[in-house]
Symmetry: C2
Subunit: 319 residues, 2 copies
């Protein structure tokens, strides 16, 4: 059988799946830890691809990888959680072994592509995907094409300034969306309030996380509720900005922080309504949550293959 | 001869030009006031197109128009400075008279397309154009295609929040880029400082404008200098955000406020350097001023015709 190989590399685990090139059905999938004794992550990836492929003939490979990378050149500049993945020509490494076309994409971009092709974004030509967890990742599809920019560095929507005097972001700059609305931003706000003496069922320990804050909020803790209200407000302001800039027909929200549900979404919708410059941007706009779960990276890599490697195909709504 | 008709409609003047479809050379051009006794602006436009066309056969028409419009539907929703241009199906009106394909574009988008095809952006695939005058308009080309969004409402880069508690914008919201860095934003800041008793060679009269403030700054007035420094700083922060989101290879700045030159650009570059999350975004990035002047709308309409009406053609650098 002829197969496509798709892979999703994370800091903890790597997944590889094989799909029949004729009907795109998944014929095999495996997941292993990214790090292992006596092997580099790249060696582990190559071995996993061999295992998942078996006797089948590989036609093309697509890999979703974290960090800064250049999808056109196939180079991972820096994947902070993967030892040795710095200025790594991953495409060349895989091509040298398998001798087939190799495609590479940033994990958040691949997630956006996955949701667009197989998930919540089917039938949409213009899509904004935000994944809100420890940080904020994003991916954008415009007119049925992935937004990459000149060097594949586009779609860093977590790193837009909402307030130049705002809290520190993980990147070292102030007042980015990520510094307000990510799990880290929410946790930092609660820590700061606790340090200032605000009373709460939460306490200043090392395990404080947005998940724990969410649980406290669901039980009525007012500091915890305030933390999500604040995150939702800034998220709504940022989404209004993104609508003014991109005018998408769907915004898809994924990532662990969205588990907070209406605690986050109600203030988000309110701030969005207040911040939008014309109701036209909200007309027919769908705002929804991601549906693909842990599979999103593999599905995105498959979407990349069938939109880039095969002849470009339109989404179902394409004309 | 067979000709393309291109038109640029402003609140004060409308321009129409005719181009030979074979070599794209301009064979005629005329400019008249947009408003006139006993005729609607649409009637004046139709008459001007007839005059400029003469005996030639029109193959297609493209119009650059101000305000909110839907380029796909050909409808001007609202052009604030043109009486009667509200929910106007301009495409249908022109088609009913001339019976040729009619294209419509927002003036800032057309300016971006003009600079991309014929001006400062030649050879670039990913371009951000900002025109900074009374307000801030913008247009974006991504991968050699104009960014329009789902309903043609994209690229309102003047209306992104830089500080939710910031000064009022003309649109009624707070802290937008336009409220800081447009001519209006600069003038409002100076007015507010003068009202607060800050000493300056400028005075609180009705004629205070960014042009006058620029002249005072060139003569060393410290309030005037401060006004441009502040505008440049927020412009730099905003451009950093736009680079994170779009990763263009060129940023083109047009509009009267850019006449201030380094008064604006020096603080802009400094804030950009301070705000960018990775030097990769600035590598090979060109930041430059617009070159097409008053002709930019007509040139943009011509660019629209030859990229949309003719078979899509790539920019010179396209491969």
């Amino acid at each position: 059988m002829e197969i496509y190989i798709v892979s999703d590399i994370g800091g903890t685990q790597m997944r590889v799946a094989a799909h029949n090139t004729e009907d795109l059905s998944r014929v095999n999938v495996k997941k292993i830890p990214t790090l292992g004794e006596g092997q580099t992550p790249t060696e582990r990836l190559i071995q996993l691809i061999r295992e998942v492929s078996g006797e089948n003939r590989i036609r093309a490979i697509a890999v979703a990888a974290p960090g800064y990378l250049d999808p056109e050149k196939g180079i991972v500049y820096l994947a902070p959680n993967i030892p040795g993945w710095r200025n790594l020509n991953l495409r060349q490494h895989l091509y040298d072994v398998f001798r087939v076309p190799v495609y590479l994409g940033n994990d958040a971009n691949m997630a956006a592509l996955g949701e667009w092709k197989f998930g919540a974004g089917i039938h949409h030509r213009n899509l904004l995907y935000l994944t809100i967890s420890t940080g904020i990742g994003s991916g954008v599809v415009l007119d049925n094409r992935l937004l990459l920019g000149e060097n594949g560095l586009a779609a860093e929507f977590g790193h837009v300034t909402i307030d130049p005097e705002g809290p520190l972001c993980g990147c070292g700059h102030r007042g980015h969306l990520e510094a307000y609305a990510s799990g880290t931003g929410i946790t930092n706000f609660v820590r700061q309030q606790l340090s200032a003496g605000v009373r709460s069922s939460l306490s200043l320990d090392n395990n404080l996380s947005s998940k724990e804050i969410n649980q406290a909020a669901q039980l009525g803790d007012s500091l915890a509720i305030q933390a999500f209200t604040r995150a939702g407000k800034y998220l709504g302001i940022a989404i209004a900005n993104f609508l003014h800039m991109l005018n998408p027909s769907i915004v898809i929200l994924g990532g662990g922080v969205t588990q907070a549900g209406d605690l986050l979404f109600t203030p988000m919708h309110q701030a969005l309504q207040e911040s939008i410059i014309s109701p036209q941007y909200l007309k027919n706009l769908k705002i929804t949550t991601a549906v693909l779960g842990d599979d999103v990276g593999l599905k995105g890599a498959l979407a990349l293959l069938i939109t880039e490697f095969c002849q470009p195909i339109q989404n179902s709504s394409g004309s």
